[in-house]
């Protein structure tokens, strides 16, 4: 798992053609080859030219925001703005001068309406825990943080439907609904910081995906503010509603390219009383796959997580995480698997899990394993898995890839990259095996073009050849915006462009020569 793209909400759409020409590309061969435009690592974003079509912030703008939001919600203090300008990995950094903290949908609407008329670029921000540079400005965009919109609006006890504002922190929502006997349908390592609005805008996956599915299934309603300030009220709490297009789905996972999510209604599953966690080791990747299949067959109704990590991940976690104990210290194994079951009957579930694991051990699928006897042991197992991302950042530089690949091929790319990178870095493979989602991390002391050249574009081309996705759950952000064509056909990208265009009304009056409707690319919306 990883700190998930949680924050990248909306960026206003911007002109595109100028961008492409500035880089010497013509839109026509977009979507066919890689353009080598991949070096925006580590604060190297400045070479993305600021689009002159956007205005520069002036003191009148600031005065206007102060009238609309009040003094305390308009932040110009350098230190506070500096924090919002950089992502948590320290990889992407903007130079915004202004941070706005709206407290209501009306305020968000006023901000966007004003920015639209003034042609000021904005970047919405949630918990700023994203991994692809989608939550921070590229240049001097106005940052709209939704942290001030953190009220829970209502909870339907019978149906388990939570309605809340976008700036609610996931962990707070989790403890709120748990007190009512329900759980959030998603859980991820960044839960203590990430906002639900960011989760929705990036369609965050996470640890409960295998059981409860994606946010496309769990979000029942949304309130969204469009780029021109229009408030789109789709905040219904109905399970079934077949009246016309289900527009909310466009906003789930669109990374803010179509609007700012301000409120959401979410279906929360009932909290089940019995959770069991096992931490296992396997001798080879084939055993992990067989174990997954066996778990689906034998534990199907109670499996709530099936995570895998290779030996390198465990070594790194033990080295860099404080107070973490290796659950299987006896001897090093090649692969480790964490299985969690959630059900309604403690003794039944435990007996079922134990019987399954003992059988798997006899069949040779599992080399060794431990079953948590209490919640703190279970948390320790999870801490190893969830701490990998945190540990990898401590090494210095980390190149993160979040790929969807057919399960049987999933580990091949890790081995390929390992041989390409050689001694220059450590290659980690882990992820949500049950979802066919690999997190491929390459860690090294510092960022270097030499390492990057060994990884990109190879990793994208390889994934594309397997008909995989280059972004399973992190989103495109700034990091992978240019890479969309590895996973989507040019026709699909074109259609996205035509969906996006009408949402940005000012462009129509501003001149057709600035509009490039054939692309749907997040960073380009933010490009100034």
């Amino acid at each position: 798992m990883a700190r998930r793209a949680a924050a990248g909400l909306l960026r206003r759409l911007g002109p595109l053609a100028g961008e492409l020409q500035a880089r010497g590309m013509s839109p026509t061969h977009y979507g066919t080859t890689n353009h080598g435009f991949s070096r925006f690592y580590l604060l190297q974003v400045a070479h993305i030219q600021r689009n002159p079509a956007y205005s520069v912030l002036n003191s009148d703008d600031v005065s206007y925001f102060k009238i609309v939001l009040g003094e305390s919600s308009v932040v110009q203090d350098e230190d506070r703005v500096a924090v919002a300008n950089v992502d948590w990995m320290g990889k992407y950094k903007g130079s915004s001068q202004l941070l706005l903290l709206p407290k209501s949908t009306t305020e968000v609407s006023k901000i966007l309406s004003y920015c639209n008329s003034r042609r000021l670029a904005v970047v919405p921000q949630g918990g700023n825990t994203g991994l692809v540079g989608g939550s921070v400005p590229v240049h001097d965009e106005v940052i709209i943080s939704l942290g001030g919109m953190n009220n829970i609006i209502s909870f339907d006890n019978v149906n388990g439907i939570l309605t809340c504002e976008a700036g609610c922190v996931l962990e707070n929502l989790s403890s709120f609904v748990e007190n009512k006997g329900f759980i959030m349908p998603l859980d991820l390592g960044a839960k203590g910081s990430c906002h639900i609005g960011g989760n929705i805008s990036t369609n965050a996956g996470g640890l409960r995906f295998i059981r409860y599915g994606s946010l496309h299934g769990n979000v029942l309603g949304l309130e969204v503010v469009l780029a021109d300030g229009t408030v789109l009220d789709m905040l219904t709490t109905l399970r079934k509603d077949n009246t016309g297009y289900d527009l909310k789905h466009l906003f789930i996972g669109s990374e803010g390219s179509l609007g700012v999510v301000t409120k959401a209604a979410i279906l929360t599953p009932a909290k089940l009383p019995s959770t069991n966690v096992a931490f296992l080791s396997c001798n080879d990747y084939m055993s992990c796959q067989k174990l997954l299949l066996a778990a689906k067959r034998n534990l199907g109704e109670i499996v709530s997580a099936f995570e895998f990590m290779d030996r390198h991940c465990i070594d790194l976690a033990m080295k860099y995480l404080e107070g973490v104990q290796n659950p299987l210290p006896a001897s090093p194994y090649s692969f480790y698997v964490l299985i969690e079951t959630t059900g309604s009957d403690e003794s039944y579930d435990k007996a079922k899990l134990e019987a399954f694991l003992l059988r798997s051990m006899e069949d040779g699928l599992v080399a060794d394993g431990v079953i948590a006897q209490d919640i703190s042991q279970a948390s320790n197992f999870w801490r190893v898995r969830e701490g990998i991302s945190e540990a990898s950042v401590k090494v210095g530089a980390v190149y993160k890839y979040d790929l969807s690949i057919p399960v049987e091929k999933l580990y091949d790319i890790v081995e390929e990259i390992r041989s390409r990178v050689g001694g220059m870095g450590e290659v980690l493979g882990y992820g949500h095996l049950g979802d066919g989602n690999l997190h491929l991390n390459i860690v090294s002391n510092k960022y270097s073009d030499k390492i990057l050249a060994q990884i990109e574009p190879f990793v994208y081309e390889w994934t594309s050849n397997q008909r995989g996705s280059i972004s399973a759950e992190h989103g495109l952000g700034l990091m992978k915006a240019e890479k969309i064509h590895y996973s989507k056909s040019s026709e699909a990208v074109q259609l996205m462009g035509s969906i996006k265009n009408p949402y940005c009304s000012w462009k129509r009056s501003y001149g057709a020569e600035l509009i490039e409707p054939s692309l749907w690319l997040v960073p380009i919306q933010r490009r100034l």
Binding site: P273, L328, M361, D368, A372, Q373, D374, I375, S376
Partner: protein, 253 residues
């Protein structure tokens, strides 16, 4: 030598405890129950002593309803050799108090005849911290409470205790009673091979009557209530406001 370890099934350490609506106790229905963390440390210490060759057998004992067998299975899966389950169905209004528990454990100890009894220093549900001391008193054995280090040396046990200002080292003649503190060790996990082995280990069931122990208590729980809720804080806008509050509301200046 044999080591007897007492283990207790309690509401899991990580569960947020709720008081029952009738105020007779805390809610245990549909709540995750686990081995008391200090008892886990006691089991671990006994196993380490056995592995170091200082003991030949580790026997786990518990007192409680049928489900308490799960806790014994955990002890067996960690590596205990066998277990004794003293069956007792709890009555919320008349909980089993430390004196009754100590009397039962004394009876078990007299039957098993161990060289050492190890208990957790307290259970996290009632926080009594009395059973080990009472057991030592009833058996008339020496006691080493709050142990942070245990060394067995033939007929003696050397116990280090974390006390105010340093470490106290005491030497006990065996047989003795030791209660464990948090830093004594880090308990191991139950591995699959050991869970498998534990399934064939013996849990002997007895009742307090079998042991001729009178567990009637002369104490009654009147009421269990939640601590008062903390009032929400306020955010002040200036230092002057803070000074004003400290002077005129809190009266600390």
């Amino acid at each position: 030598m044999k080591i007897l370890v007492a283990v207790k099934r309690v509401v899991d350490y990580a569960v947020k405890v709720r008081v029952r609506p009738d105020l007779t106790g805390v809610e245990t229905a549909n709540v995750k129950m686990s081995m008391n963390p200090f008892c886990e440390i006691a089991v671990e210490e006994a196993l380490r002593l056995r592995e170091a060759g200082a003991a030949a057998e580790v026997v786990a004992a518990t007192i409680g309803p049928a489900q308490s067998a799960d806790t014994l299975r955990t002890a067996l899966a960690m590596g205990a050799d066998r277990a004794v389950h003293v069956l007792h169905n709890p009555d919320p209004a008349r909980p089993l108090l430390p004196l009754a528990v100590a009397k039962i454990l004394r009876a078990v100890a007299l039957r098993e005849n161990p060289g050492l009894v190890i208990l957790g220093k307290q259970a996290i549900d009632d926080d009594c911290n009395q059973t080990g001391q009472m057991l030592a008193g009833l058996l008339n054995w020496p006691q080493g409470t709050f142990a942070s280090k245990v060394i067995l040396d033939k007929e003696k046990a050397i116990v280090e205790r974390e006390v105010d200002g340093g470490i106290e080292t005491i030497c006990l003649d065996l047989p003795a009673v030791i209660t464990t503190d948090l830093r004594l060790n880090q308990p191991r996990y139950a591995t699959l091979p050991n869970i498998m082995k534990a399934k064939s280990k013996v849990i002997k069931k007895v009742t307090p009557e079998d042991l001729n122990v009178d567990i009637r208590s002369d104490m009654e729980v009147v009421q269990v209530t939640e601590p008062p809720k903390r009032k929400a804080g306020v955010i002040l806008s200036s230092v002057d406001d803070l000074l004003d509050k400290l002077k005129n509301e809190a009266h600390v200046l």
